[in-house]
Amino acid sequence: MSEFTYGGEYRDMPDPDTCTDKEWAAYVHYRNGAPGLKKEWWYHGPSGTWFIAERDTMTDKISRTYIAGQEEAK
């Protein structure tokens, strides 16, 4: 068992009430797969903590971590 679990890219959800079906389908299925610095969800199992890591998907270097919504805190 690994301490950390990858939770996918952090993505903003479109407004389900105003977006088109196509926009919603794109949100559900499409991803920004190009390499670069990404905001990602990661979970630390032993402490049960989700956090956001900013990670370069090319070099695997993590530049920042913080709790979602508390970006300014750190």
């Binding site: 068992m1 690994s2 301490e3 630390h44 199992g45 032993p46 402490s47 049960g48 903590t49």
Partner: protein, 222 residues
Amino acid sequence: MQDVVLKSPVAFAQASKKPVNGQVNGMEIALSFADASVEAAHSETLGICDVSNLSRFGVKGPHAADWLTASNITLPAGTNRWTKLDSGSLVMRLGNTEFLLEDQPENGLCQTLSEANVNESGVHKVIRNDAAFIVSGELTPALFSEVCAIDLNGDALEDNRLVMTVIAGVSATMLKQELNGQSVYRIWCDGTYGPYMWKTLLGIIEELGGGPVGFNFYYKIN
């Protein structure tokens, strides 16, 4: 529920070692596995002791810290730290908003807190079922090097820090404390993993020349 004899989660994994069991804190626990001299040797080389029967109290929520403070309990300095009360009870801060308290056999703080009413919002009692262990001895670095990826020679456990990490594949909480003048490691994990944890750690401990230690070694109960 006084007349109900509960069992340590680890009990069935210990059966093959034929410990002398006894009841402490309403739970049947392995009091000793061998002569005191043998257990003392294990404790010095490498020993593991099941202390799941110590009373514990968990509380969680945005106002849990305030509530404990209001209950006259000294809190640890920061997140992922612990402190020892004068009574000997441990207060652990797991992350920011969760606390785990553990009593010594003789005191009843956890019992009191369990029975206290909580009316405040943002304070939630947590039912615990920990398997709890003491691991001690000079070969602990060798043991932990096999089961744990973090650096215990560094300062990870100094200054009353605790770590939540994976031990032998299972999420666990760990700290280092003085007990009866000896520096020991404490490990807590979900009780359902307790038998596995006991067997796995003891297997390696025995390979390294150590062995099991009974509850009475640390806590003389008459």
